[in-house]
Symmetry: D2
Subunit: 184 residues, 4 copies
Amino acid sequence: MTTPSYRPAPEWETDRWFNAPAPLTLAGLRGRVVLLGAFQMLCPGCVQTLLPQLQQAHALFDPKQVAVVGLHTVFEHHAAMTPVALEAFLHEYRIGFPVGVDRPGGPGGMPLTMARYAMQGTPTLILVDGLGRLRMQRFGHEPDLRLGASIMKLVDEADAAGPLPDAAAGADRTGVCTPGQGCD
Amino acid sequence: MTTPSYRPAPEWETDRWFNAPAPLTLAGLRGRVVLLGAFQMLCPGCVQTLLPQLQQAHALFDPKQVAVVGLHTVFEHHAAMTPVALEAFLHEYRIGFPVGVDRPGGPGGMPLTMARYAMQGTPTLILVDGLGRLRMQRFGHEPDLRLGASIMKLVDEADAAGPLPDAAAGADRTGVCTPGQGCD
Amino acid sequence: MTTPSYRPAPEWETDRWFNAPAPLTLAGLRGRVVLLGAFQMLCPGCVQTLLPQLQQAHALFDPKQVAVVGLHTVFEHHAAMTPVALEAFLHEYRIGFPVGVDRPGGPGGMPLTMARYAMQGTPTLILVDGLGRLRMQRFGHEPDLRLGASIMKLVDEADAAGPLPDAAAGADRTGVCTPGQGCD
Amino acid sequence: MTTPSYRPAPEWETDRWFNAPAPLTLAGLRGRVVLLGAFQMLCPGCVQTLLPQLQQAHALFDPKQVAVVGLHTVFEHHAAMTPVALEAFLHEYRIGFPVGVDRPGGPGGMPLTMARYAMQGTPTLILVDGLGRLRMQRFGHEPDLRLGASIMKLVDEADAAGPLPDAAAGADRTGVCTPGQGCD
C-alpha cells in the first residue's frame, strides 16, 4: 500500500522532558503518527506560528493516532535558553504537549538531534509515520490547511475508515449572516 | 470500508456560473470530493475567512481529487447582490474557482439550494464525498487545520496510498532562525 | 501659529448620502478636522483596512472636533457598485459614519470629486484642517499610530489644551500577566 | 494652558540598560514626552502587542520630542528572565530602543519601579509629559490610533505648530485599486 523508499526517522537525543511523566522516545511512539516541532523559545517565528499550530494539532487529533511533540533545539544564546527558562516559557504560553530538550554537543553549537536531522534552523516541522519513517521535514511555516491534510494522510495509511476529525466541535461564527437577523 | 448511513447530498439548483466553461452539477463531480462554500458577496465573514480558505484549498488539492466550488446563496439585499455585482466582486477579489448562483425562489427569500440543504446562513461549508454523500455541513468558520484533515480523509477513502499534498511547495520563512545568521 | 502655504481642500460633489440627515459639505464642516476616506465597496484594501480604521476613528474622536466621512468614489464596475448596493454594503458592514456618493462624470470614468483631488485610486485618506485646508492625502493604508497622531496634531492647532482622548476607556487585556495569577 | 493637577511621575530604579550608551533617568528626559512600556520577556501580550507598538512609535516620532523606553519589570520566573536572557531576547526580536532592567526588591517579588507606579501587571503603557508629569498609565493593550493621538497631544502641549508626523513616508498599498489596473 505504501512504497518502501522512505528512510527511518533518526531517534532523538534528549536531556529533559516537560509535560511528560517519563522521557519519550520515537521508538516508543511507533504505531502513531508523530508531529515533531523543533523550536527555540526566543525564535520569533516559533512563538508566533509553530507553537500555536502544534497546540491546535494537539487539541484536534486523537492522541492514540497522532503524537504532538516539541523539541527545544537550542543552537544560539545557550545561556538564555536554559531548561529553567524553557520551563517558565512553557508555563506562560500554556503549552500542554510534551516538550523535550535536545541534547547539546553537536557540531557548531547545534544540539545532537538537530544535527542528525540536518535541520536548517527553527522552526522545523517533521512528520514521522506509524512505521517510524521520516515523511516530511519542513523549515519555516507550513500552512494549516496543508499540514492538516498531511497529518490525516499518514493517519489514513493505517486505516482510512475512521470518522472525520472532531465532528462535534463548533465553528467560529464571527461575521456570519442569517436570514432575518442580518450579519454579526 | 465506509458505513452506509450517510444521506445523498441534494443536487444544487443554479442559474449562472462564473469561472466555469459550462454549468457544474454535483452529479457530474461524482468520484471527486466536493468542497462547497455557500456565501454572499456582502457577508463579512465570507469575505474575510471563507473565500480565502476556498482559494487556498483550490490551490492546494489536486483538482482530479477535490473540486472546490462556490455557491452564491443570496437571501437578503437581492437588488444589491445581482449576478452583475457578483461578477465584479469575483474579479476584484481574484476568485479563480467555479462559482454558481443559487436559484431564487425558496421559502422566506432563500434560494432553492440553500433551502434544500437547510443552511442556517452564510458562510456554510459543505463536504460531499466521492460517492455523492453529504459528509459535513458547517455554518460559520472552520479552522484550516481541521478542514485540511477532513478533506484528506475523504480523498483517502478512495485511495490512501497517494503522496502527501504539495510536497514540493515551499514554506513561509518569516521569523525563522538559522545557525550563524540569527533570526529574520 | 501655522504657515499659510496649504491650499484649500476642494469642495466635494455628491449625489446621495447615507447615515446623514442631510447632505454634508466640506464648507459646512469648517472648524472641525475632517477625515475623509475615499473607497469603493468592492475594493479589498478598503474593506480590510480603510473602513475599520474610519470606524475606529469615528468611535474615538469627539465629533465636535473631528468629522469622519466616507466617500464612495466608483471608477470601475459602475453597474455593480450602485447606491442600492452601497446601502446594503453599509448595513452589512455596520458602517455608522456619514457616507456620500461621489458624482459620476469625471474623465476616464472617474467621479468628479476623485478627479478634483487627483486621487490615484482607492483607498485614499484625506485630512482637512479646521480652516478647510488640505493637509494630508494618502493613497494606500496609513498605519493607525501615524493617523492618530496626524488627526490630533490638526485638532491641537485649534486648541492643544484639551484632555487625552478617551481617557476613561478600557484597554484590551488579552495575554496580560499579573502577580500571583500568571498570564492569561 | 495645562492644569496643575497631574502628579509627578516617580523616577525609575534600574540595574542595567540595553541599547543605551549610559543609564537613562526620567529626570534626564525632561522636555520630552516619554512613552514607557513595562514588559516581561515571557509575557505573551507584551511580545505580541506592546513591543511591536513601541518599535513602531520609536520609528515614527522624532526622538527629540518623544523618548520610547522599555522597562523589564520581572515579577515572576526570576531565574528565567535574567539580564542575560533579556539581552538575547532583545537581539532576536530586533528591539532597538533603550530598555532598562527594573531593580528587584519590591514587595511580593515585584521590582521597585513597578511597585512605585502600582502597576497591575504587564504590559503597562505609561506616558509622561515634557514637565515630568504622569499623564497616562494603562494596563493591557492600547489601540494604536488612540496611542498615536495621546502621544501627539502631549507633544503639542509644548508646541502645536510642528508638521504632521513622517509626512514623507509611504503608505501600504496592499489591496488598492487604481483606474485602468484594477485591484492588487
